[in-house]
């Protein structure tokens, strides 16, 4: 079930709100059970067999957590390792079997290609489960002895299928002791409505443009059109994913949970290193805490540090998808980060910020082309077209049309990628008068309701509604 679907928006969410808030606050356990049941139903809508798989994952992590909390250090270690292996085996089987057998098949044709259907959100809930068990083992968080609350943590529907990857310690206390209130509920509603509007009005429009460009006959593609398509995908992936995070964070707040932010205006970055501090923060910090630092981080020799970074980025690529594109995409970022760390350190700071910004965005846009293309040959063809190799001229009527047709969206892509609203908000905060107070308090809410209504219009208008991050 998608957040941006009629069944979710007009049926699932109102029903859940009605049932949940009918239960008095003092019956916390009952409220949690309501959330759990609705979350399982939410996931089960994608196919009951996948629900069984998620329940198995919950079971593994519950037992793994219990073992990892044993006072016997050896037993705890093996408990943690066992849970990690089981999690990775599940993820490996469902996500990578097809890729590995396909790769083997290309070398040894007698190996049969096995196609396994990828359960929605497995990458997200597996990483959450892993984080829980490891944190318990490390003593960073207390073990949860009630399996229902482990189930609630892993299956909590707002962040279940497309993140953000929530650490158990972030919501451990809130599972048992949160206090829902009007302020949180209101902030959650506003955040949800803005996320919904962002998804329907910006991400989907950008997606239509990107699909047209990436599906366009490469021999007829002009340089400008190739760049337009790449920029459209750059907009799509950001607005799509950040919209989902907005909705997840917003709904979390409605029910009293406070998830951490997942994006911080990544497209204003002035280096790729900064970009990754602002993009998909929950994933970057997960890899930092559970892979990079355990490997030794930067407290080791330079070659070892470089190896650590490349391992992390190889795994980041693999996490995003079982295909060579994603691996190359991950390694691409690994190499750029190494270059920035060891060759450009100090150099970038001396360059005018506009140049640094352009440098960053060009590299990011190229990375999204690698990410979006169907296969490696499509990557080279598309990148070639962007740089004039095999392109049909520089300018084309398609470029003109898609810029004119989608001109409101292009303007909004630009504005909404930057913290304009935040800057205006900060400015108004300094003006302590009635007008600024009114604007600060009412305008964001009016805006949220308006984009929510416009988003709903888009929802009923079309079936073009895919969430990119569901495939991870």
């Amino acid at each position: 079930m998608l957040f941006s679907s009629v069944s979710f928006l007009l049926f699932f969410l109102p029903s859940l709100l009605a049932v949940y808030f009918c239960v008095p606050r003092r019956f916390r356990t009952l409220r949690n059970l309501v959330l759990l049941i609705f979350s399982l139903f939410f996931y089960g809508c994608g196919g009951v067999r996948f629900l069984l798989l998620m329940l198995a994952s919950i079971m593994i992590n519950y037992i793994g957590g219990m073992l990892a909390s044993l006072k016997n250090k050896r037993g705890a270690k093996w408990g943690m390792i066992g849970a990690v292996i089981c999690n990775l085996l599940l993820l490996g089987y469902f996500k990578y079997t097809g890729f590995f057998t396909q790769t083997l098949h290309s070398f040894i044709p007698s190996v049969e290609v096995v196609n396994v259907v990828l359960p929605i959100g497995i990458s997200f809930y597996t990483f959450q489960g892993l984080a829980y068990v490891v944190d318990v083992y490390r003593g960073d968080t207390r073990v949860q002895k009630n399996p229902l609350w482990v189930a609630l943590y892993i299956s909590l529907f707002p962040q279940l299928i497309a993140g953000p990857i929530v650490r158990y310690q972030t919501i451990a206390d809130e599972i048992k002791g949160r206090r829902e209130n009007m302020e949180d509920f209101s902030a959650g509603c506003v955040r949800f409505m803005i996320g919904f509007g962002k998804k329907m009005l910006l991400a989907n429009a950008a997606g239509r443009l990107a699909d047209i460009a990436f599906g366009f006959p490469s021999e007829h593609m002009s340089v400008s059109f190739a760049w337009m398509g790449a920029l459209a995908y750059t907009a799509q992936i950001y607005f799509d994913f950040s919209a989902y995070s907005d909705m997840a964070i917003g709904m979390g707040r409605m029910f009293g949970f406070h998830f951490l932010e997942n994006f911080n205006y990544p497209y204003i970055s002035k280096s790729v290193t900064e970009f990754w501090r602002r993009w998909h923060i929950s994933l970057s910090s997960w890899f930092r805490d559970y892979v990079y630092i355990p490997l030794g981080g930067n407290r080791c020799s330079v070659p070892r540090h470089m190896l650590n970074i490349m391992i992390v980025w190889f795994l980041t690529g693999m996490w995003h998808g079982a295909s060579w594109n994603f691996i190359i995409w991950g390694l691409y970022f690994g190499i750029i980060l190494l270059i920035e760390k060891y060759l450009l350190a100090g150099v970038l700071d001396r360059i005018p910020s506009i140049i640094r910004h352009i440098y960053t965005m060009v590299l990011v846009v190229i990375s999204w082309v690698i990410f979006r293309s169907e296969d490696l040959s499509a990557v080279w063809t598309y990148l070639g077209a962007m740089f004039g190799i095999g392109a049909e001229g520089f300018w084309s009527k398609q470029t003109v049309y898609y810029f004119i047709q989608f001109y409101p969206e292009w303007i909004l892509f630009f504005i909404c990628s930057t913290p304009v609203a935040m800057v205006v908000g900060k400015y108004l905060t300094t003006k302590k008068n009635l007008f600024s107070g009114f604007v600060l308090n009412f305008v964001p809410k009016i805006f949220a309701v308006a984009v929510f209504i416009l988003g709903y219009i888009e929802l009923v208008n079309g079936s073009f509604n895919p969430f990119i991050y569901f495939r991870f």
Binding site: M1, L2, S5, V6, S7, L9, L10, F11, L13, P14, S15, L17, C45, G46, G47, V48, R49, F50, M182, E183, F185, S186, A187, C189, V190, F192, M193, P217, H220, K397, Q398, V400, Y401, I404, Q405, P408, G437, F438, N441, F442, K445, A448, V449, F452, I453, Y456, I457, E458, L459, V460, N461, S463
Partner: protein, 399 residues
């Protein structure tokens, strides 16, 4: 102020989602969407398998999306917003110009050699059909009529596709192939009167020609047939036909896609011959009313192109009981409809089939059974070499 604004935001949000739920549930479940010209999704059938693999909820979502609260009103609002506020050049797949609504065409890339081969192969099939007709002494003609985008090529903005290059190429190939195989091809686009009087003869809100355009095309076709056969097929002269304008607003395919929200309006015409020709009509084997025009009940209702012949029918037979005149079979897409309203003038019996709907036998078998004196295929430029539907005279008939 923060509390008040927050409270109001919550009220708005909850009102929207709860009223959305109530209205969607309570809303009368329509089966068809008139403006979209399609059937709406039906409630999915429950099955354990569908629930297990998730298809049940996917189908349920499609159903709910089709019946969502305020859908129709919001779609109209969206159309208005895009057309008049944002002023997008293309709205709901319609290019909105100041004086005309044009069909949006996908960017067209084609390989000249492949197109030539495709056309050759298509015409080669037609030659077999023509041989069949000529085998019993009949005459076969394949007629290409220019549709709106071909007539108003110059009205397309330079950055949008008008298929001019493709149209020129396919017509040149078709003519060459027709010469090669001896197929009788009449290109109504060569009719000067039709092209020069395009403001009258072609619709501005639809892909079809007007009734007057059909009349001009028909005269051109008959003139060419007579020139070819030396025959004396008759059509009503200009002073033997009277066109009458309906008061109803014409909702063409383009204006319909825009939910009727457009400043460009048009009306339709009916025609009356000075000579009274009585006839009987059968549709799909059943006797029908002796009429070829089907206007709305009153002048306030929109009229559509199905004014002519009551729209696309699988089979229609019109008998004028004038045995001295030849019989004709006309087949083709919806461009036949307006033309048929006039064509029965020239024939004793006029049969009309549309292979997109007719499924009793193939066209070839139909011709074998009835052996009409003339077989005329009417296809617009867009469908000129399309092999599906009316482009499949020997194949199994399906759409």
């Amino acid at each position: 102020m923060k509390k008040v604004s927050g409270f109001l935001a919550v009220i708005c949000f909850l009102t929207l989602i709860f009223s959305g739920m109530v209205v969607t549930v309570a809303k009368l479940k329509e089966e068809k969407s008139f403006y979209e010209n399609r059937m709406l999704d039906a409630m999915p059938q429950y099955s354990e398998q569908a629930v297990a693999d998730g298809t049940y909820f996917t189908d349920l979502e499609s159903y709910l999306a089709d019946h969502a609260a305020f859908r129709y009103t919001l779609l109209k609002f969206r159309t208005y917003f895009n057309e008049y506020i944002i002023r997008r050049p293309v709205v709901n797949n319609v290019i909105v110009r100041d004086d005309i609504l044009l069909i949006y065409l996908d960017y067209c890339f084609f390989d000249r050699e492949e197109l030539k081969e495709e056309t050759d192969s298509f015409v080669s099939e037609l030659s077999k059909l023509q041989n069949l007709v000529e085998g019993y002494g009949g005459n076969y003609y394949y007629v290409g009529v220019p549709c709106q985008y071909a007539i108003f090529e110059d009205k397309y903005p330079s950055y949008l596709e008008n298929r001019a290059e493709y149209t020129d190429e396919v017509l040149a190939d078709f003519n060459a192939a027709a010469d090669k195989y001896g197929v009788n091809f009449i290109d109504a686009g060569q009719c000067k009167e039709l092209m020069e009087g395009r403001d009258i003869y072609s619709s501005k809100v639809d892909n079809h020609y007007s009734l007057q355009g059909a009349y001009v095309s028909y005269k051109y076709i008959i003139d060419n047939i007579n020139k070819d056969t030396g025959g004396e097929l008759k059509y009503p002269a200009d002073d033997e036909i009277t066109f009458t304008e309906l008061k109803n607003n014409y909702l063409g395919s383009s204006s319909r896609k825009l939910f009727g929200i457009t400043k460009i309006t048009e009306t339709l015409f009916t025609a009356e011959f000075s000579e009274n020709i009585s006839f009987t009509r059968e549709d799909d084997g059943a006797a029908g009313y002796s009429q070829v025009y089907y206007p709305p009940e009153n002048e306030y209702k929109d009229v559509m192109y199905d004014l002519y012949m009551c729209g696309d029918r699988a089979e229609t037979v019109i008998k004028t009981n004038r045995p001295q005149l030849p019989d004709v079979l006309i087949y083709g897409d919806s461009f036949t409809n307006a033309l048929e309203c006039l064509a029965y003038y020239s024939f004793d019996e006029m049969r009309s089939i549309d292979l997109r709907h007719y499924d009793k036998m193939s066209l070839a078998d139909y011709i074998e059974e009835y052996k009409p004196d003339y077989v005329i295929c009417i296809r617009d430029y867009e469908a000129l070499i399309k092999t599906e539907g009316n482009g499949s005279p020997f194949g199994e008939i399906s759409e």
